[in-house]
Symmetry: none
Subunit: 208 residues, 4 copies
């Protein structure tokens, strides 16, 4: 039993890894079950032993990295450092995640809460998104010394647009993620800084 368990776990893990890499790189439709199988070193039918179908595989695949992202963000927002610093770190983490796990990121963004008939993963991913958004809002509010409310919601949205815009701008770049990030690090930090300065200024003016 324990041997089989191990073997089975190993296979499943290999499938997940293979699928993960492939999906990250190639997009849902482009990846075929046979490619995954080949990369995982098993038959394509074996995949169906562990995952109901392609869609399920992708969704199961997406949860762990997304959770990891959330946990990292949690750690960051719990830090002692200044809100500005935390915001910078959070942004960096978010951007790097988005660039690294392209398709998981896409799912993260696109998963609708709606499909209520489904088992659950959609909902969980949706929750995750909301939670991350809430963390972001929290730090932004701290940074601006305001409490959560309409203003913080507005600012968080705008902040999110920018973050998301960065990710999607470079998502299909041929440059390596490291190269890219180093090249544009200052730009990204300037973006964060500008946004916060802008929010502050807007507050000083009295928001709409």
């Amino acid at each position: 039993m324990s041997v089989n368990e191990r073997k089975s776990d190993k296979t499943k893990k290999q499938i997940i890894e293979a699928a993960g890499e492939l999906f990250s790189t190639k997009g849902f439709d482009s990846v075929t079950m046979r490619q995954i199988a080949k990369k995982a070193g098993c038959s394509h039918t074996t995949i169906y032993l562990y995952f109901k179908d392609k869609e399920t595989l992708l969704h199961q695949l997406s949860k762990p990295p997304l959770e990891k992202l959330y946990n990292e963000i949690l750690k960051i927002t719990a830090k002692d450092s200044s809100p500005q610093e935390r915001l910078n770190l959070l942004s960096q983490t978010y951007i790097l995640f988005g660039l690294t796990y392209k398709n998981m990121y896409r799912i993260f963004i696109n998963t609708e809460a709606s499909r209520v008939d489904e088992e659950e993963p959609e909902l969980e991913i949706n929750k995750l998104r909301l939670s991350i958004f809430a963390e972001l809002e929290k730090v932004i509010a701290q940074r601006l010394s305001i409490s959560k409310g309409e203003e913080s919601l507005l600012f968080t949205r705008v902040f999110f647009y920018t973050l998301h815009g960065i990710v999607t701008t470079y998502q299909d770049s041929n440059e390596s993620i490291d190269e890219l990030y180093n090249r544009l690090k200052l730009t990204f930090e300037a973006a964060v800084e500008s946004l916060l300065l802008g929010f502050q200024a807007k507050l000083d003016l009295g928001v709409g």
Copy 2:
């Protein structure tokens, strides 16, 4: 001949129109050559008379709407109104374009200048992108009363990220574009305002 020419032009135009509508709505992979042909009122083999393959078709397809966008933006930046107003209008135009022509927008963003082996359209699209970016930079510089340079480049990038982030956030939304835009108009405007205020503040502080 001239009659045939006209007829031929017409056919090509119909193909482009049909493909354009289909691609805008349904995504590259989902659209089939036969669907396009049907909508264009010709045989699917006819398409190959005018376009090497599906990819080429899509690329050639993207140019006109993109040019249209560019022209609209040109008109806006040429206006007499205040830089802020022009920036707002430009942003609105850009966002609405991105939401309306989903796939053209994707191409607009993703087309690399690199693929030198190809005929040309990549390059032209790339030029278009650069031109639009330049217009954006121009207005931003005007608004901030600075001249083009590193600072304006930085700010334009950040501004662009946000714009692009807005488009991609809502690109797969089920809401109608009108509904969506009306619902979030104020948010978008606040984003633009915040950014500019932030840039200004950053300038006042002295940019890094």
Copy 3:
């Protein structure tokens, strides 16, 4: 054009023939599109040019032979010969058809009138079945010198059971149809004769 038409017609015909033979022999599920294609001398994808899917192919396939059967029966019932003779001929025709076109016969028997959502072939096959039954009833009534009514319906049902029983008894036989029919011809004729004698006797007794 006319050449293409011819070619196309030929291909379609070949597909129909191949599919017909295969379906007759092997049953719906056992026959694969690739087998049909191979036998028809074309690619399996070509089949989809002419038939929406496998099911449609089979149904389209079934109608013509069934119509042929009906027409043959019509001719027989319109003959001048004695009712008994016509009944014998009709039975022979029916049995031979059932043995020759196994799966068409199955469809003939099993097609339900119910599926109303479908386009039509089900309904038509159903009509055909009813029409054939009606012809049978007509001759039986003539033979027994009764008019159509409950009695003739009852007798026709019983007659039909026997006919159908003969077909299904030998449907999967390995014997060639000719051999089989010659070997059992007298038995089948005796069956028809016995039934009629029995009906007559029952009438004489008063049918309950």
Copy 4:
């Protein structure tokens, strides 16, 4: 050992039961080994411990119900009641069996004696069929007061065709077996009666 034996017997029995129910209802191809295993409460690989393959399983499966049918028929033919009554009862039993155990019935009919290479079940089923046929012939001969011979063979065949025709006519009906049988009981009895009357009349005329 004896415990294991018992356990093993139990498993086999459970498989047979599960498979029996499934095959009766759903047809050979539609039933999967995994479905059987699930219903039997064992792994699908276990089935292969007891049965060489799916086909063998189905054949071994068919014997018990067929034997049951035979025993029931034996009881009926051994009764004191009139031949006519016994024939009616026998017919009813036969028809109900055929409608209830669809696929076993199919095997009962289709199993060829030929396949000599196989282990044996074919032969046994064939014997069973012959025995049942013999019983039928016996009662028919009694009813007609003739001795077994060419005539009785002929009549039995015809009788059998009708019985078999009834079963196969309604084999795929959606009606419940009870409903159906009650609705058509009189028709079936009329069929039996007519046949016998016909045989008698034919005898009176002098056969062939």
